[in-house]
């Protein structure tokens, strides 16, 4: 997916000004940046919820069609069961009930919720709710995945288990992914590349992460150096 020369402003606030960004197919781009610098705007433009004032967003054939969006909050339907919350996202794309059932059960099993199918969101913990949302995002047949700080405001243990669940599902079926986060560590651990916003014209910092995802260690010297640079860029932004 490519953002080519896009511009976007909210009244006097210029968020993007002939901004370009390239996200290779089936990779994860982590997007970090100070608040109000266009992270969510970028996601919403990628989802088609917002139109850029100028410029174009080019998607590859494999990225066309619907998108899966993982929000900060789980955004589950309160009066539907865990099972229904995932299955409903498949109804338009899969007319066969058997197929929908298989897919739903598979993804709910992948996030460890096979025993909670009949529960309602109010009966789940915050982490479980977010796992349902992750299962829904992967079950939905989309080739483009947009993550808007989905692991924010969770304790570190829960965050790791959710990131782990996310990566397991992603490795099974890689999709072009834009991952917005505030956390430099998270960005470096998950992304194939990291982009720091803060200048409307170009990324403040863009770094390919050439260490295989499963070999990454946050205490590794290279990772620590990237983290330090990223933190410095964010502080100076």
């Amino acid at each position: 997916m490519q953002f080519l020369e896009i511009s976007k402003r909210y009244e006097q606030n210029v968020v993007f000004d002939h901004f370009s960004l390239d996200i290779p197919a089936q990779t994860i781009l982590s997007v970090v940046g100070p608040s109000g610098e266009g992270k969510t705007t970028l996601l919403q433009m990628a989802a088609g919820l917002l139109e850029p004032d100028a410029g174009i967003i080019r998607k590859e054939a494999s990225e066309e069609g619907s998108v899966s969006y993982l929000f900060q909050e789980s955004r589950l339907l309160g009066s539907s069961t865990v099972y229904a919350n995932v299955e409903l996202a498949l109804r338009r794309s899969h007319s066969s009930e058997t197929q929908r059932r298989q897919i739903t059960l598979h993804y709910l099993a992948m996030v460890g919720l096979s025993e909670s199918l009949t529960l309602y969101p109010a009966q789940l913990s915050g982490g479980m709710r977010q796992r349902v949302a992750i299962a829904r995002a992967f079950a939905h047949p989309a080739n483009l995945m947009l993550l808007d700080e989905p692991f924010q405001s969770l304790d570190i243990k829960l965050k790791f288990s959710l990131v782990d669940a996310f990566l397991r599902l992603w490795e099974e079926q890689p999709r072009t992914t834009l991952f917005v986060t505030h956390d430099p560590k998270e960005a470096l651990m998950l992304g194939d590349a990291v982009c720091c916003l803060g200048d409307p014209k170009k990324p403040l910092w863009y770094q390919q992460i050439d260490i295989p995802r499963n070999a990454r260690n946050i205490t590794d010297a290279k990772m620590l150096a990237w983290e330090a640079t990223l933190v410095r860029t964010l502080v100076n932004a």
Partner: protein, 260 residues
């Protein structure tokens, strides 16, 4: 334990109410001003045994039910439209504000000039109950969660699924609150309208006749019946809400396959 305590408090306060009534009656010592509990209970027994009792009761209940159903259907339709289209909501605001502010008696008296005595309770109850239900439904539509709405769009929910699994469940609490308030209002207005218009059958009409003949024990008996009618209506309504919630859970559970 908490429940037992609560029921005990409820029982004691109910007995206190009866005690105040009985003591008041003994102090006043007048069957016309305030008859005691035994004569009212006797009048109630006689009343129930007489053949037109069921007819009076059913007439009132039918009027209340009719106006309630008309209110529920019309207020839901208009409320949903007003929630969706702001200009309609603005256009309806003067009507709703007027209806909310106008005294019940004015509506009943005016309606009595325009309609026959049987129609007045229906019409008055509709005018009084409609704004209550309408306001709740309109608010419900306006308060629909925009985030969930966006989620339904992004995950390409079919319109029927969105209606069934997002819109209707989100509206349910507003619908229940509106219809519960409208229902209790309907009973009061229907009986008040019957008192003023005296149709052939009706709890209010009997109350009025008893009052004219200074049969206070009968007035109180009919009042007790009206209270019981309202309580029964609330009880049936709550039972219906519970039944629907229970059926929904059953249907939901049936839609979930075994994970193994």
């Amino acid at each position: 334990m908490q429940r037992v305590k609560r029921n005990l408090v409820l029982l004691i306060s109910s007995l206190l109410l009866l005690l105040i009534w009985q003591v008041g009656s003994m102090m006043l010592d007048s069957q016309i001003l305030l008859p005691g509990i035994p004569p009212v209970a006797q009048a109630l027994r006689t009343l129930i045994a007489q053949p037109p009792f069921a007819h009076n009761l059913l007439s009132t209940a039918l009027r209340a039910l009719q106006s309630f159903l008309i209110i529920v259907i019309s207020a839901t339709v208009v409320g949903v439209l007003a929630g969706r289209f702001e200009y309609l909501s603005i256009a309806l605001r003067p009507f709703v504000t007027t209806l909310k502010a106008i005294p019940v008696m004015s509506i009943i008296l005016l309606a009595f000039i325009w309609f026959s005595s049987g129609t007045v309770p229906l019409f008055s109850a509709f005018l009084m109950g409609f704004p209550v239900m309408y306001v709740q439904i309109e608010m419900g539509v306006r308060q629909l969660d925009r985030n969930l709405d966006q989620m339904c769009t992004l995950y390409e929910f079919r319109p029927s699924d969105k209606l069934l699994h997002f819109i209707i469940p989100s509206m349910t609490s507003w619908f229940i609150a509106g219809s519960r308030t409208a229902l209790s209002m309907v009973w009061k207005v229907v009986i008040a309208a019957e008192v003023l218009t005296v149709p052939r059958y009706g709890v209010g009409a009997r109350m009025q006749l008893a009052q004219v003949q200074l049969q206070t024990d009968l007035v109180l008996s009919w009042t007790l019946i009206a209270v019981m009618l309202t309580a029964l209506g609330d009880l049936l309504f709550d039972a219906l809400v519970h039944l629907v919630a229970y059926l929904k859970r059953k249907i939901d559970a049936r839609g979930v396959p075994c994970s193994s």
